[in-house]
Symmetry: D2
Subunit: 344 residues, 4 copies
Amino acid sequence: MWGEPVLILMQANATDSQIEAVVRAIEDLGYRAHVMPGATRVAIGVTGNEGAIDAARFENMPGIAEAVRVSKPYKLVTLDFHSEKTVVRVGDATIGGDDLAIIAGPCAIESRAQAFAIAETVRRSGARFFRGGAFKPRTSPYAFQGLGEEGLRILAEIRETYGLKIVTEAVDEAGVDLVERYGDVIQIGARSMQNFTLLRRAGKSRLPVLLKRGLSATLDEWLLAAEYIMSEGNSQVVLCERGIRTFSQHTRNTLDLAVIPAVRRVSHLPVIVDPSHGTGKNYMVTALARAGVAVGADGLIVEVHDAPAQALSDGAQALRLEQYEQLVSEVRAIHEVMAPAAVS
Amino acid sequence: MWGEPVLILMQANATDSQIEAVVRAIEDLGYRAHVMPGATRVAIGVTGNEGAIDAARFENMPGIAEAVRVSKPYKLVTLDFHSEKTVVRVGDATIGGDDLAIIAGPCAIESRAQAFAIAETVRRSGARFFRGGAFKPRTSPYAFQGLGEEGLRILAEIRETYGLKIVTEAVDEAGVDLVERYGDVIQIGARSMQNFTLLRRAGKSRLPVLLKRGLSATLDEWLLAAEYIMSEGNSQVVLCERGIRTFSQHTRNTLDLAVIPAVRRVSHLPVIVDPSHGTGKNYMVTALARAGVAVGADGLIVEVHDAPAQALSDGAQALRLEQYEQLVSEVRAIHEVMAPAAVS
Amino acid sequence: MWGEPVLILMQANATDSQIEAVVRAIEDLGYRAHVMPGATRVAIGVTGNEGAIDAARFENMPGIAEAVRVSKPYKLVTLDFHSEKTVVRVGDATIGGDDLAIIAGPCAIESRAQAFAIAETVRRSGARFFRGGAFKPRTSPYAFQGLGEEGLRILAEIRETYGLKIVTEAVDEAGVDLVERYGDVIQIGARSMQNFTLLRRAGKSRLPVLLKRGLSATLDEWLLAAEYIMSEGNSQVVLCERGIRTFSQHTRNTLDLAVIPAVRRVSHLPVIVDPSHGTGKNYMVTALARAGVAVGADGLIVEVHDAPAQALSDGAQALRLEQYEQLVSEVRAIHEVMAPAAVS
Amino acid sequence: MWGEPVLILMQANATDSQIEAVVRAIEDLGYRAHVMPGATRVAIGVTGNEGAIDAARFENMPGIAEAVRVSKPYKLVTLDFHSEKTVVRVGDATIGGDDLAIIAGPCAIESRAQAFAIAETVRRSGARFFRGGAFKPRTSPYAFQGLGEEGLRILAEIRETYGLKIVTEAVDEAGVDLVERYGDVIQIGARSMQNFTLLRRAGKSRLPVLLKRGLSATLDEWLLAAEYIMSEGNSQVVLCERGIRTFSQHTRNTLDLAVIPAVRRVSHLPVIVDPSHGTGKNYMVTALARAGVAVGADGLIVEVHDAPAQALSDGAQALRLEQYEQLVSEVRAIHEVMAPAAVS
């Protein structure tokens, strides 16, 4: 918005009086109309608007074939308003800087023993962030829903012990309060990407926000969700591609890696990849993690478990500890040869 | 869930010891394994489970080609547990009974005058339900977000004046409190279909819930969202198909009318159709409303506006008052000839 | 195409010299550039082109944010060039006129006895068209591929005996030769919708063409496939919606009924619905057939089998004879009450 | 197929006589039925079949809730029947071996000068394959359709001059004859993936076949298309992922890179990636090419043009010569560090 034009295309047989009526309607709304005669049709450009024009509203006027809005209805997320890339800082760790950010841990915190066993490996791998869910949004009401605040306490202990930064999900406003007490980064899950109450609350937090792309979110909708957070004053937002829903059923979701360069082209926000949810299959995670780094992502978020077969959630996609270590070594190697390319 | 089996398919060259290892893993989890030798491969059925088995967890064992869960992880929503069709009652109006339920009104309540002008027509059409948003979930933080509680007060007045039942959206727990104070049916929007905090809260309400299908929700996920509500004690749930997101861009969403008979086959819950969001185009709404009734839906929810070109939201899809009246007369005619067919 | 404009949107920080460079590039290609200054950005309209402009080609120029083509690159199929609705005539039967066209028969011709048993019922129902495949495009090379020319001979006999018009698929140029010898309408299947060699050949035939929409075809691509046929001189084209591929897996395909009014708005060609392939489920076919008629389709194509459980292909979706008779009676009832509505 | 089982799940309230009827139906078809009682439902495994069982055909029997086929109806393409990875050889060049195969060139051959200018750069980059279309399948009948046989003659000259192997598309049987005369590898495009007449003809050729995945093809459908070619005797098939059609519109197609490890898990055929059609955007091609190599593809096919802005087709996605050279250097660097990983 902010003044981007709409283009109206008249039907080939539109009459002069229909064209005039459209021009008048545009001017009545306080905009300027630019009539452009074509070989067989007339087009009318609309400019001068300060806010967004709802292009579709013109479509029902007689003689109009189509109305197209070319606007991008966001601003704070764009390079237009902030041309330097954002580096999100969590203590001495960063996402969006030169280092490849690695966030690893179990889907859900199941017990202190489990969490510590995994955190030990994550720390040793050189990753700076630990993930783990305490409140799990589950498709079925009968599935394991997380340990709740007890899980958060375990995460806080891990931070103390290993110096890892804690990334954990909030599913509602009360959840944000809790993450603020125990964690370092508020994760907003794919299903919550358009929970606007939650986005506004996260926008008022002093903690950075990891915003996952919704299963059926377009690039614009995703950036607008980030705009919700930023419009409340929190500019520390990390985007996370985790796969979209398509007809393709050989994976749980279809990882849309092209969205990484697409984000780069319009936004200054860092963007990372989740190859675990993005595939849902243990045997693919490492290959897609490599691809995510090669495409230019700022980091990865990966599910690791000390005993995937016993995991209470998402066991099928969790890496075993030694698989995770192998992943880190492979993606680091790619990140190193990528260094100059990633800039481009 | 509740005991539905999983089928494991071994690779053609799986060894006997791999097969034995799978059988042992199944038995270790407390289930029964049924080995079925095929022409070139062995299959293993898993039964005896009380809850859901995560089929995918077996996929990483050596020698396994695929593991398929055949379970439907819901129960309260199914015909298995409640073989009679549910009729949702709102005072003397019903959804799911013999009458075609019509819910009509503007996308958002914009003013008292606007709301009353539309309600007048809705009442005259014989519809029993009035829709109107007071808290609008909008993709952009800069778009009109509704009048808030003021909008709800206008809705309550409309109920007083016209005897129409009020259907209005809650986007968070506080919103449910408000709908309980002013309205008759809690609408849960497509973007909130997996907002489990909200679903649980609605499940504790004494009001019926209109649950829209998410843009990328499978039938199972939608029914599980209803299961969340029902598992908290509220059995008055109406499902609403409002279009899914596909590659097809000639409409805002793709209305998936086949989901109506699909719901009928497994669930006792009433299901209605939203041809306004389902198409996003004024000129298609009536045609798809007819189709929705013809496919066997229990009702329709339709956006009507006295001046669509001035609407503050979704003007492109709202019907003008006289278009709405024409729609009602057309769908009533179809509903009448349908009466015997709908039973089948 | 034929002169429809392109709109170019400059970046907010585009320099004057970048804008000039774009204007020059437009003029170098022989077009006219219309510079429209907006509140924060400049837009540039491009007109004067005789053929299509590839909007995307501008996207790589410095300072350009986006380039949008508003053109519809077809003409013969549009109402712009032929404002009266086309009625396809096959002898004394029609598609696109006042009558509801019903095309029914088995997926594949399996034997003379099977075909005649079904044709008997189809004839008795009052339908004027018989469908049946002789050359079946099958996903697997090992599946039943049809009886070939023998199947066509059986179809020709059915025409003789019952006076039904024969609709049958051609999968290649040689197939069109055969349909011309034995049949009345050339069916082009969803998988062949962009087999341009086949489209051109069908465009040279004296027989009408039934053109199914591809599984992933946009409205524009579908109309352009019809344009291929018409550009070779054959204007007798019937469009057929048969479901698109989406994430939704409760049906074989997702029937996109909104495409019927969308076609009506831009094209004069008749359009029918295939509820059999559109759902892939016997129990849904009749419900979706009703919906197809209610949405305003000119007809239906339905699979019927005298013994679906023994069908050599697509048995799961074929109706039994008595189900088919019930369907015809239900859709006729809806078509009757629709008559005035369908005009709108 | 070849004996893979079907699993039938009975409804919770299925009667004993319904279960018996299903068992009888299975046995009447010559299969074995394995009844597995669950906690609330009965499942029935079906084995003993030599060919494919159409699971859906059981779905209409009373008492059956669902029938799932677990079979993979292909064999020649699978690791089950050919456990060693296929290396496709074209003279002294290979696809599927240790080298990263690079196929580069313009979308369409436009002139001798254009083709030679590009071929010069391709040769210098070390790539072994040159691509270029002579017969272009175009969505619009009015778009440039290629130079035809003249284009093939230019390609043959390029082979002579630079020793590059020629990869070029055939859209029909006559086209295969021509590619056999002038080229080295028959390309089958996305739109032709289920043109079974064409697949069979290619299966009879002595030339290798590059088989692109269809826009809406599942993994199984794609492998079955390869099975068509192989079942005619031609085992030299290279698969090519080129993007699928999804709701995501920031790219022309959504590149599904997870299909690379998915293919590896079931098939011995080499698989490459097309980042040009896979994105449709010049600025993304190199990033996705890196990702394609990182995910483990055997090669890339890339569009290069000496003057993309003047390209007669697909100019928006073609790389300029120097961009192409940069791409080759970046993907080679990744391929080198990948070498050990790719094995895993």
